[in-house]
């Protein structure tokens, strides 16, 4: 009986290990996601400073020097400020982007004059203090020294520092100033690369799967192709990057850092995934349908094109989307072909230098500037959103369109 007790205890223990393993794995996932989300949410807001702008309608906008005028308007709010260093401290609370915003404001005003409080982007240092990323010690907080802090306190007293929606994060490209940095350029670069990867790898993958599954005779050669594809699927992604570097950049002299080369490299990487998924989808189409088509006089190719392929398409699409989603999150091969450059423009064509979303995350994560931490998390949130959307599409296709025979 003692023995049985022992065995039952061992059984409970074993089961407990299993449950805790599952719970630990799931906990890891949630800790990871929670960490990213909790630090990234704040990046969707940015600090803005309210400035009372008064420009009489009689004034000709073309004659205004925006930089000087902006300084004048800001300094007007604090008439007591006299020394140069104080003035500089006050103006340093604004981002460089504030001047551009002021220019836009002037253009929009259409010579009607301006009167009232308008909001301008604050400097990254101030933004971090407002969000509580850096703590206040006495009269200082991070890079906000006591001189700057007196202005911050004065502005806050009048409720002239506010957190508003971050206009830059999703609409501009990378920048040296954290408060002005955005991921638009990276998203566009990624989309170009993914599009090219899809255009290249999808037809090649589907055609080769069709051939291997339906037309190739079983011999040594087809075995080699098969092992080859299975092994390619497990080659480390960085090796594909080196392939891209050696073939596309050094041999074909395609432009460095371009989404075109990134897309081609990712296409080579995604190809095995698409072939494997397509083969299993094609294999699951019942032979009776094909035989019926052949029996009615259709040729082999007609049967494949009119029956096998359309019936296998949902399965093929599911596999392709999953492969493309993986390519979207891939960073290492893109580093190898030089998509790590600091690019301040949104790429217009797939031949322009660009980064990709995961590479942008890498670049920001590497930056010593602390203000980039929350932006990195925000960029990750956007990347994960894209991945979730792609995977939902794959799940939808699998559940709704795929037929079980």
């Amino acid at each position: 009986m003692n023995n049985l007790n022992k065995r039952n205890k061992a059984e409970t223990r074993f089961k407990l290990y299993g449950i805790s393993a599952v719970i630990i794995a799931i906990t890891f996932l949630f800790v990871l996601l929670f960490n990213i989300f909790s630090s990234g949410v704040s990046a969707f807001k940015a600090s803005y400073i309210g400035v009372k702008i008064e420009i009489p309608s009689a004034m000709n906008i073309d004659e205004i020097n925006p930089r000087k005028e902006f300084k004048r308007q800001v300094l007007k709010m604090f008439p007591e400020v006299e020394t140069r260093s104080d003035k500089r401290a006050l103006l340093s609370l604004f981002s460089k982007g504030a001047i551009y915003e002021f220019e836009d404001l002037l253009e929009q005003s259409d010579s009607n004059g301006l009167d009232g409080y308008y909001w301008f982007l604050a400097h990254g240092d101030l933004d971090m203090y407002i969000k509580g990323t850096v703590e206040r010690r006495g009269n200082e907080a991070g890079r906000i020294n006591s001189k700057r802090m007196t202005f911050v306190d004065a502005l806050r007293e009048q409720n002239l520092i506010q957190l508003q929606a971050n206009k830059y994060l999703l609409s501009s490209a990378d920048s040296r100033e954290p408060e002005m940095a955005g991921i638009r350029g990276a998203i566009v670069g990624s989309l170009y690369a993914i599009l090219i990867a899809f255009i290249v790898s999808f037809p090649l993958g589907v055609l080769s799967a069709l051939y291997m599954e339906k037309l190739a005779s079983r011999n040594k050669f087809s075995d080699i192709i098969e092992t080859n594809i299975n092994n390619l699927a497990a080659v480390p992604s960085i090796v594909f990057g080196l392939l891209g570097l050696a073939i596309f950049l050094n041999f074909f002299s395609l432009p460095r850092s371009a989404p075109l080369v990134g897309g081609l490299t990712l296409a080579v990487m995604t190809l095995p995934t698409i072939v494997i998924a397509s083969r299993s989808a094609i294999k699951s189409v019942p032979p009776s349908i094909e035989e019926a088509s052949i029996g009615l006089g259709a040729s082999k190719i007609q049967t494949l094109m009119n029956f096998t392929l359309p019936l296998a398409m949902p399965g093929i699409m599911t596999g392709t989307i999953i492969g493309i989603a993986r390519a979207l999150g891939e960073t290492a091969p893109l580093l190898m072909i030089g998509m790590v450059a600091f690019v301040v423009d949104v790429p217009g064509t797939p031949l322009d230098p660009s980064t990709a979303l995961p590479v942008q995350i890498f670049l920001w994560a590497d930056s010593p500037e602390r203000a980039f931490v929350e932006r990195t998390s925000a960029a990750i949130m956007v990347l994960l959103l894209f991945l979730v959307l792609l995977n939902l599409a794959a799940i939808y296709i699998r559940n709704k369109l795929e037929r079980k025979w």
């Binding site: 599952v22 794995a25 055609l207 051939y211 080659v235 992604s237 090796v239």
Partner: protein
Amino acid sequence: MTELLYIALFILASYSFMVNKGRAASLGKFNTLHSQPYYHGLYSSILIFLPAIILLIFWSSIQNIMTNLSIRDFFVDVSDPGLIKFYIDSVINYSNGVSSKIIEHDGFMPAVEKYSSLTYTSTILKVIVVTGLSIILLRASIKVVTVDFKARDYVESMFTTLMKFSSVIAIFVTIGIVLSLLFETLRFFATVNVFDFLFGLHWSPQTAIRADQVGSSGSFGAIPVFLGTILISIIAMLVAVPIGMYSAIYLSQYASETVRTYAKPIIEILAGIPTVVYGFFAVITVAPFFRDLGDKISPGTLSGESAIIAGSVMGIMIIPFITSLTDDAMNAVPGSLKEGSLAMGATVSETTRQVIIPASFHGIVASFLLAFSRAIGETMIVVMAAGFAANLTLNPFESVTTVTVQIVGLLTGDQEFDSAKTLSAFALAFVLFFLTLILNIIALNMVKKYREQYE
């Protein structure tokens, strides 16, 4: 100009499709034709398109070679081949308006003019030849439409060729990988001894800026790099194997159907998260956590680049590889074995340990091997969370470097392509490629074995 040519080709091909389809349809009743009108149309489109495309590809590669040769003449006085290539690229970029950089060399502006005029002539000639060819083919294809013409057979055989070509691409890719790595690796071994590379204990690829500097040659003993890679991968396996194995056991042996349908996909999400995200997580969350932990024991024991940080995060990443594959392997074990054991009075845990695991042993080992190969080849986590300096140590609390970190470090940023430093990255990649290849082949064979065993 070239874009216009493509558009013209497209229009011509569509036109011939419509014309030939119409002609075939008007030839006779449907059942007298060998092929449907549609195939006659397709045949003529392909006849126009294919030669034109092949001609265009040949033309541009020959044009590239010819223009390069002719502008090379302007730089005969330059002796360095690397510099000549740079000059030629600059000329091409300047002429195409890609960059506005002008090289300080007497031959530069004449070369630009020569290049532009050559390209212009070639393009004009290309347009004339290709359009002419297409029009001739268009006329020829119209004549060919008869009742007996086997348009379908031709179209289908061309299509089959295309399919064959697609399936050979995978082989081309593998050959491309091997050749591109091998070529640079051999160049590397021309300057560095193979045995020094494989068995040397000191890795510092920095070559000196000045030639007369002391210790300028750099040393390429890769053992510390390999050891670092293996150390981090083993730490990852120590995290992933118990968690992955026990989750697989729980999911396949204990869990109810509902738990299974939800828990398994959730665990698999871990594999779908991009590795750069794990890298960021390692730097921002895990590194401070371990540092604080280390400081409690004795301050300063852990740096932010300790092997254990990258290793444990990588372990989280590879959990799902082990869980899914092990789960599959355990589910492939025939129910009769399991039921037999249970009927004899064994508990589920005894059955699992003594029947299921031995029966699915091949699959489980295969999952370990695949996870290990994934860990060796993983790049972003270690690039962000592990060190760059190569230390010869097995202490998990010290900073080590890995093969992938070195490759990224050596090949990003400013580089001359011929130095031993950059070439060493290819040698490392070559070793990495073969190591993972061998692991994969063994693992795939094992998976095949267990599949065959119970089918």
